[in-house]
């Protein structure tokens, strides 16, 4: 009796998971399905497979949003931002974790306290500063701005992580005559790999999917990121050319999905660790 009830319950749980998975995937599947159709086919039959999948739609989309250029622009932003955030935060976190003084505590809270400030509260002045510093309109400039926005969280994570590394290691290296900066790069930094991976993954995802800041900093279509190009195309074709729009959407999300399928374990681990430390 009891086992029978348990299997019934089990089936219910399974059913719920399957239904949710369908919900989760349906926009992506419908987009793929209809991206290979003609506009006429979409109007008459949304749910069926296309009669013959028109890959041409993708070629057209590829050119329409200048995919290669948009992709490279986005990569510049992500690489500049991540490199800066990792290097500056690791170096800062090292001393913040090791030096125990009032000043150290002050610096730490100065960084960490800002994490509650919403982006919209700094947005207007930030754009003005981007103008003054000549970063406005440049992908490199956007990457540099992301460094300033990203360091607090990364410093928070690095400081916590470095505190768990025994300081005896530093001492030993110091006796060997290692300077502070060399000691950091030779002894400490290699030990930070797990948290560095977490920081790179979460920050890369943030910058890759961020919309509002690029919208404000990069007004010229030559410097558009993938999201900005997609947004522009949607504005142009609106509700009229769904095959083109859906092909663009599939291409625009493909890099993130591939990244996810390859690095899934690291991504999920990074997310739960990053969140549970707060």
């Amino acid at each position: 009796m009891k086992t029978k009830k348990m299997t019934g319950w089990n089936l219910l749980v399974l059913l719920m998971l399957i239904l949710y998975s369908i919900f989760s995937l349906s926009p992506i599947l419908l987009a793929i399905l209809n991206s290979g159709k003609t506009q006429g086919e979409i109007l008459t039959n949304i749910l069926s497979f296309p009669q013959n999948f028109k890959f041409d739609n993708y070629l057209i989309a590829f050119e329409k949003i200048n995919f290669l250029r948009s992709f490279l622009n986005t990569m510049v932003v992500v690489i500049v931002g991540c490199t800066g955030i990792v290097l500056l935060s690791a170096i800062a976190g090292y001393k913040l974790a090791r030096v125990k003084s009032k000043l150290s505590g002050f610096y730490y809270s100065l960084f960490v306290l800002s994490m509650l400030i919403p982006f919209h509260s700094i947005m207007i002045t930030l754009v003005k500063i981007a103008n003054v510093t000549d970063l406005q309109g440049k992908t490199l400039g956007l990457g540099i701005i992301y460094i300033g926005l990203g360091v607090p969280m990364a410093i928070f994570l690095y400081t916590g992580f470095i505190k768990s590394i025994p300081p005896e290691l530093d001492e030993a290296a110091r006796i060997d005559g290692c300077g502070d900066l060399r000691l950091f790069f030779k002894i400490i930094f290699p030990q930070l790999k797990p948290i560095t991976a977490t920081i790179i993954i979460t920050n890369a995802l943030w910058m890759w999917n961020d919309f509002l800041l690029p919208l404000l900093i990069l007004p010229n279509s030559k410097t558009y990121t993938i999201l900005l190009s997609t947004n522009m195309l949607f504005g142009q074709y609106g509700n009229n050319d769904w095959p083109a729009i859906l092909s663009v959407l599939i291409m625009a999300m493909l890099p993130a999905i591939v990244f996810y399928l390859i690095l899934q374990k690291n991504i999920l681990k990074g997310i739960s660790e990053g969140a549970l430390k707060q």
Binding site: S21, I46, L110, S121, I129, L249, F259
Partner: protein
């Protein structure tokens, strides 16, 4: 000690520099401009004290956007956390299919909500009307998902849940894996049924994760922008205009009243700050009591 402090300052200087220029200065600047009538077009502006804040009190559009956002936040906090927790428990109970379901549930989280919003736009304006037509269901056919204020709100909730649930599910899954098995078994042996074990053993042990889950949802939902931008643009009219969008429109698309928009952004900051601090205080206390 002094030498240590000097070295400390040297090591944090690069990070501090970027942080000061791109986070700290804009934050202070935002507050300062909220006290001025700066309009972006004109180079000169005057200090006008709290006049912007006084104007906010009479700004019905902005107040409506606050009420709308509050409704959105409340529904999101409840639904997103309950559904995520339920999914996490369901996934945790699976053996072989655990990884598969985790992959599928989290997938939307990787996609920008701009792209997600556009894809859902296709569902709401094309796929659902088509299905309603096929079913010949008049009630379903009548629903205008993007054109009607009420259904636009529902649409925004659906898409936000779709994009946000995966993240919380991962957090709850991690927390559930940390629950002491022997504690659960001991409770079962003592005659507790599944619900009692869940209520008295599982919930108290994952309380810290629930605090984080609620915190994350509060924080993100108050700042919601991308979904609304891509799905309804704040419309029809201003019926789905959230706070962030109202600020954005004030500063960039409707007029360039930077000073006034800054004052609004300070109000947003104050709301988020007060509510999250209260939430953390209340729930941390519960963690200790429970």
């Amino acid at each position: 000690m002094k030498k240590n402090n000097k070295k400390l300052t040297l090591f944090i200087l690069p990070a501090l520099l970027f942080y000061s220029v791109f986070t700290l200065a804009p934050a202070i600047g935002g507050f300062w401009y909220s006290l001025t009538n700066w309009n972006g077009l004109n180079k000169n502006y005057d200090f006008i004290g709290l006049k912007n804040y006084a104007a906010i009190l009479k700004d019905t559009d902005f107040i409506n956007s606050i009420t709308f956002t509050l409704k959105f936040v409340l529904i999101m906090v409840v639904l997103q956390n309950i559904i995520s927790l339920a999914l996490a428990i369901a996934i945790e109970s699976r053996n072989r299919s655990k990884t598969l379901f985790r992959t599928l549930v989290f997938m939307p989280n990787m996609i920008s909500m701009i792209i997600g919003g556009f894809m859902w736009m296709f569902i709401f304006t094309k796929a659902l009307p088509y299905i309603a037509q096929q079913l010949n269901n008049a009630a379903l056919m009548d629903i205008s998902w993007i054109g009607d204020p009420f259904f636009s709100f529902i649409a925004i909730i659906i898409v936000s849940l779709w994009g946000g649930i995966g993240y919380l599910t991962i957090i709850y899954l991690a927390a559930l894996q940390g629950v002491d098995r022997t504690l659960k078994e001991a409770a079962s042996i003592d005659g507790a049924n599944a619900w009692q074990v869940f209520r008295n053993v599982v919930i108290p042990s994952i309380m810290p994760a629930i605090t984080i889950g609620v915190f994350v949802t509060l924080n993100n939902s108050f700042k919601v922008f991308d979904v609304v931008y891509s799905l309804t643009g704040g419309g029809p009219g201003r019926s789905t205009q959230v706070i962030a969008m109202n600020i954005f429109a004030e500063a960039y698309s409707l007029n360039n009243r930077y000073g006034y928009a800054s004052a609004k952004s300070m109000v947003l900051f104050a709301i988020i700050f007060v509510i999250t601090i209260v939430q953390l205080k209340l729930m941390r206390k519960k963690e200790i009591d429970g």
